[in-house]
Symmetry: C2
Subunit: 214 residues, 2 copies
């Protein structure tokens, strides 16, 4: 399910409608979608979530909401993704339905060790490489070596994010990621569907199960 | 319960701790408190909500959270207040526990008419006067005449907000408000407790029940 994980950024869509980019990306092969909004009114955020949920349901693709449990509940999304400055995981567990997918970003080994105690469905390995999407420059990327170390340390599924593209995708899977998360590699691609298809092919080939049902 | 409604603004507290200002305000006579945060990380927001909830519980004063149902749920707050650009009320009703207090801001007659269909506990009449707190200048204040019109129109309790101070407080109650909401009149007062006591006295005197249990 985590093979190719699209994280949306409406500002990276080159002026195209977010819904259109997501639809093309899913038709190309994206296996899960996270709606991420920053500085958006709750009303607009929830309307966008409901609109994406409707599209994604028709493709049987899960919708994850970034940070906002209220939006996830209201839009009947399939899950939530939180970072270290979002809702603390222990609180999140208390108010989230058990059936929802729960993802957590980890930026350090210490955070990953803490996450061993949580019933997370996957860890976001953030960032795996330097990336232009995040404006904070004090984040130290995990790198391929850091990812390998994390793979050895944790039982959780790992979704790598940050600076991933077709040239480094195979290396990230080989280093232990269960899936690749991308923003601009799809949102800003001339052809989001083709970009998704190409990335998914690399993931599946690298995992050695291309053509099989994953 | 709505007699004197404090809406927090950490930037209006003149560098004092929000918790300290709230405590003084409640000891002075505030009857309900709304935590309002903008551009604050979810983690900080929820921690602040939990901290205020603890303080307010000891005074038997309800805590309302602005906009964010996730924060209200996680902090076990007593209610939620939404504006017209927040979660649509119909969606809010689906995900909020029935026992929680629900407030809705109305800026126009049309919005107030729509709100007749909702199970709101009170309407925020916003803004009743021009105010320096809100930076949007395209809002037309209700004014005392508008408030009277609204009083005649709606069955809901009315909490007026915007530019209220000790000089106009009695007029606002006489025009039909069930309570006064203030931000800077308390948060920015030299003595938040004294400011609250003075405002509460005006409300009670004007309602003609000063000294009685309300």
């Amino acid at each position: 399910m985590y093979d190719l994980y699209l994280v949306t950024d409406i500002n990276a869509c080159l002026g195209r409608q977010l819904e259109d980019v997501v639809r093309l990306a899913v038709e190309g092969g994206v296996t899960i979608v996270q709606l991420r909004e920053k500085d958006t009114d709750t009303k607009v955020f929830v309307e966008r979530a409901i609109s994406l949920k409707k599209i994604l349901t028709s493709y049987h693709i899960p919708l994850i909401i970034n940070d906002r449990i209220d939006i996830a509940l209201a839009a009947k999304a399939d899950g939530i993704h939180v970072g270290q400055s979002d809702m603390p995981f222990a609180l999140l567990m208390k108010i989230m339905p058990k059936s929802m997918i729960k993802g957590l970003s980890v930026e350090t080994i210490e955070q990953a060790v803490n996450a061993e105690n949580y019933k997370v469905d996957y860890l976001g390995v953030s960032p795996v490489f330097h990336t232009p999407t995040k404006t904070s420059f004090d984040e130290k990327p995990w790198g391929l070596e850091g990812l390998k170390k994390l793979r050895a340390l944790t039982k959780h599924k790992l979704v790598a994010i940050g600076g991933i593209n077709k040239d480094n995708a195979a290396d990230v899977i080989n280093a232990g990621a269960d899936g690749l998360a991308v923003v601009s590699a799809i949102c800003s691609a001339d052809h989001p569907g083709e970009a998704a298809a190409e990335l998914l092919k690399i993931v599946k080939n690298t995992k050695g199960n291309y053509g099989q049902i994953s």
